[in-house]
């Protein structure tokens, strides 16, 4: 006779597998279910498809001093040496996080073109803003800060840049 716990395990895993299949289909109302997945266990398996990522995502910021803007400065995630990244690639977490937050931000912006400032209330915007504002300020004369999301593609002289989002200007707390 099959143990009761095995029956429960089979039921749970079966339901989870079914949920996983539905999660891949990206149905309109599926978010009503997936919002309870706080640990993000439901997987997304469409790796690099249907639209493969063609850009690196960079977050840059500049300060304002007495009405003048400083040059843009990049929040630089490190890149692991290509010779070793097949076994050791610790920088991937930060780079992926930046990419996730930036992509979420751009999606929200696209969905709310008629109310552009709605994006300021999004978790992605706030998260990126907090990260940018946490960077050290060279002096009290730096009163405001603004960030941007820039996409890049290519290497060396052939590198192409595209500004994908520019934030509002925010006051730096002294």
């Amino acid at each position: 006779m099959t143990e009761p716990w095995a029956i429960i395990v089979a039921a749970v895993l079966g339901l989870f597998f079914l949920a996983g299949v539905l999660h891949q289909l990206r149905l309109d109302r599926w978010w009503l279910v997936s919002r309870y997945d706080i640990f993000h266990l439901l997987p997304r398996y469409s790796f690099f498809a249907p639209n493969p990522g063609r850009h690196d995502t960079h977050v840059v910021y500049r300060d304002r001093i007495g009405g003048q803007d400083t040059p843009w400065c990049q929040l630089q995630p490190g890149y692991t040496d290509r010779r070793w990244r097949w076994i050791w690639n610790p920088n991937r977490y930060q780079r992926k996080a930046v990419s996730d937050l930036a992509n979420a931000l751009l999606q929200i912006e696209r969905r709310n073109r008629e109310s552009a400032r709605v994006v300021l209330l999004s978790s992605s915007y706030i998260s990126l803003l907090v990260w940018v504002m946490a960077q050290p300020s060279p002096g009290e004369s730096h009163t405001h800060r603004q960030f941007a999301v820039v996409g890049s593609n290519g290497f060396g002289e052939a590198r192409q840049l595209e500004v994908r989002f520019v934030s509002e200007v925010h006051r730096i707390r002294s």
Binding site: E3, Y45, P136
Partner: protein, 262 residues
């Protein structure tokens, strides 16, 4: 184990100026809970790594192994929640395998539950590959072989030499694209194979993930997905023995019917 060490190396990202700082992630989670979890952050990172090492050595069936398995799962879940962003498909797959393994061996191992979990992991692997392959099949960029040259032009997942090579050899880029599309889309067919064909199909998968790790830096996938292959092989062999047994039962019935016709 590898991801635990990598996050230990990057634990400064959880500090005030990091992308995973409490203030940054507080946009998604309760700030008080985040701060409480942060007090244990470094111990959790160490625990994940040490428990993973123990799990590799002892396996999940012993008492120590089961404890290590619980600790690894708990650590990964806590860290994923704490980070909110920055995870990938390899981490998801690893976590699903580990959580399913918990169900197989907790509170004690059971052959029935192990069998159920093996089937689940094999099914997840098939779902992963099939979804990835079909998503690529529906993409004009992939079908035309333009996806790989574009991906390799990025710093995140690319390589300048590979980018130049693929741009100058678009027919090879097209061939590689379609090889990936077909292998991924048809991966579930592996469950219907056996013997050397099964071994060859899974070896091809290992080679695929090794090449992705070397050329694109997807080192997590090299561990996460081939780790499911023993389950895929076990399920394939079970299907094979079931169909052989069914054929063996059908044969006498077919013979009886034949004699009756005569």
């Amino acid at each position: 184990m590898v991801s635990g060490l990598e996050l230990l190396r990057e634990r400064h990202q959880f500090g005030d100026a990091g992308v995973f700082s409490v203030n940054a992630v507080a946009a998604f989670h309760n700030r008080t809970t985040l701060k409480q979890l942060d007090r244990l952050l470094t111990p959790i990172l160490f625990l994940e790594t040490v428990a993973a090492c123990a799990l590799v050595v002892t396996g999940p069936f012993s008492k120590l192994g089961r404890l290590a398995l619980l600790l690894v799962c708990g650590s990964i879940l806590a860290l994923r929640w704490r980070r909110h962003a920055g995870g990938d498909g390899a981490e998801q797959m690893s976590l699903l395998v580990l959580l399913a393994a918990c169900l197989a061996v907790m509170p004690w191992p059971s052959p029935t539950r192990v069998r159920i979990v093996v089937i689940f992991i094999a099914a997840q692997a098939c779902l992963a590959y099939a979804t990835a392959g079909i998503a690529k099949l529906f993409s004009q960029t992939w079908r035309e072989g333009q996806a790989l040259p574009a991906i390799f032009l990025t710093n995140n997942y690319g390589d300048p030499r590979m980018a130049v090579f693929l741009e100058n050899h678009l027919n090879i880029a097209w061939l590689i694209s379609w090889t990936v599309i077909l292998y991924e889309s048809l991966f579930p067919v592996v469950l219907l194979t056996s013997g050397w064909l099964l071994i060859a199909a899974l070896a091809l998968g290992v080679l695929f993930h090794l090449s992705c790790a070397v050329t694109m830096g997807l080192n997590g996938f090299l561990w996460a997905f081939p780790a499911s292959y023993p389950c895929v092989a076990a399920f394939a062999m079970e299907i094979s023995s079931f169909t052989s047994h069914s054929s063996a039962m059908l044969l006498p019935a077919a013979q009886s019917g034949h004699f009756m016709c005569l």
